[in-house]
Amino acid sequence: MKEYELFIGPQHPGITGNMMYHLWVDGDTVTKAECNVGYLHRGFEKLMESRLWMQNIPLVCRICVPEPDVNEAAYSMAVEQLMDWEIPDRAKYIRTIVLELARIAAYLMAIGSYAGSIGIYTLPQWSMGDRDYILDIFEQLTGARVYHIYIWPGGVRWDMPAELPRLIEKTLNYIEERLKLYDDVLFENRVFFDRAVGVGKIPCNKAIEWGVTGPNLRACGYGYDVRKLEPYAAYDEIDFDIVSYPDLGKFDAHEAGDVYTRMIIRRLEIEQSIAIIRQALKKMPEGEHILKHPNWLRWKVPEGYAFARVESSKGEFGYFVVSDGGLKPVRVHVRGPSYTHGINVAEKLLQGANIADVSQILFSLDICPPDIER
């Protein structure tokens, strides 16, 4: 059959947000894929150069919409590096809890939208509904559902209310119960197995060179996690094991780096996050939640280069902050995990894929366009 062109996106249900893939298709096979982004480019990095250090906090959380807290954490950590601040212990634990809750929420969303992409519409309905209970916790803690503006340089904005741990515990128990249902519907479903095993494989020896990070890298068999490599917040005091490819718990391991393994890793990391939150709640010390902070309007950050990285649900989030000692940053550069996943890796994986698999490959990479284009 003659080769034809197919545009997946920006208005298409099978795309992970507002972006576009230009596919050249021969019969059912994609021969070439080209990523086209920029639909969400707001010029954040330019805006940040003209705002005060503190004014940037509401901006950074909008860089990754499904999981905004990692951005606040990474930016705050970079600024703390420049200021040489050591944040209070309680703030560290609260940050850990917030980041892990956000991770669960993002994973629920990722799993739900992946399930939608292979045509099982029951799971997205359940997982989005369950994700909302986590947003309820955020609402009690921070006052907002999606953009919390909660993690600040020097700590967190408010202390955790005394009754919140009980609510968190209740929600976690509920989600654990629901995970069994998810297993029945998706992860132990024969058709999911038929669809996903061996599809969209990242070649494992190339994974690191291609810049694959996060769950996608762990699915290739590398047990690398920023939470262990460069412990931030309270992760160095918490006991947890990295989930990586051959050891998939109760699920069978098949091929490294394919769609199946990537989704199973995400599924297992929900349980891991639940365990981390429980530990953090138990160990959380009393005390201050934020350092005594300067007047935000006249706050000058010392000169220097700082780089902070955070493990998000999509991969490694990095903030490169340059200061010349002034009221405003000279440069804030964001390394979004989707930058490599969405452009280089996806273009290579889509080559040779079946058009029926395009959508599931994209959703299993968990590409988030706003962090590509900022």
Partner: protein
């Protein structure tokens, strides 16, 4: 003859009333996440808030849809696609714009790549304020739109047909990133004149 025409008009009125009654309870929206407000659409569509109660469903293609949701800020690149989508939709069609960034630019007021006022480029039937609007707000907006349709007030698509040239001119200017410097000069001149 006049009476006959009047009868026809009456009948047409009644029919269109009926059509409005049907279309208000069956609003299908385009599946297009243009900005960060789209993150609140899945909760609205799914089991917690369940928009399908009101007959609202999401459609894969613009041909089948009635409502275009602009979920947040629009970059110029997206605006071009939004207009393509809007023009492919079959009237009557409605536009709901989310968040403060579609009203006046919001927090992106000084960004070089986002349009500030959506209504300069396509007619907007309803705005939802906030950054970002809560699911309750979105559902409330849909109910409000139903009320407007029932009263025959949601007629942005007619407006688009009527002022088509003006909309097209504005769109052309924004797509080409046309910079107009005369305005500032004029203002400076006026200020000078006032001083004199």
């Amino acid at each position: 003859m006049g009476l006959h025409n009047g009868d026809k008009m009456m009948r047409y009125e009644e029919w269109s009333k009926l059509a409005r009654k049907a279309s208000k309870r069956s609003l299908w929206m385009v599946h297009f996440c243009t900005g960060c407000g789209a993150i609140e659409m899945p909760p609205v569509m799914t089991s917690r808030y369940d928009m399908e109660r009101f007959g609202i469903a999401s459609m894969a293609t613009p041909r089948q849809a009635d409502v275009l949701l602009i979920t947040g800020y629009l970059t110029v690149k997206t605006l071009r696609r939004v207009i393509q989508v809007y023009e492919q939709m079959q009237s009557p069609k409605y536009v709901i714009a989310f968040g403060s960034c579609t009203i006046n630019g919001g927090m992106y007021w000084d960004s070089y790549n986002t349009i500030k006022h959506l209504e300069k480029y396509i007619p907007v039937d309803l705005y939802i304020a906030g950054c970002m609007p809560r699911p309750e707000g979105i559902i409330n907006a849909f109910l409000e739109l139903m009320k407007l349709i029932d009263e025959g007030k949601a007629r942005g698509w007619e407006r688009y047909q009527k002022y088509y040239d003006k909309y097209k001119e504005n769109q052309r200017r924004v797509f080409n990133f046309e910079v107009k410097e005369e305005k500032e000069e004029k203002e400076q001149k006026r200020e000078k004149n006032e001083e004199h």
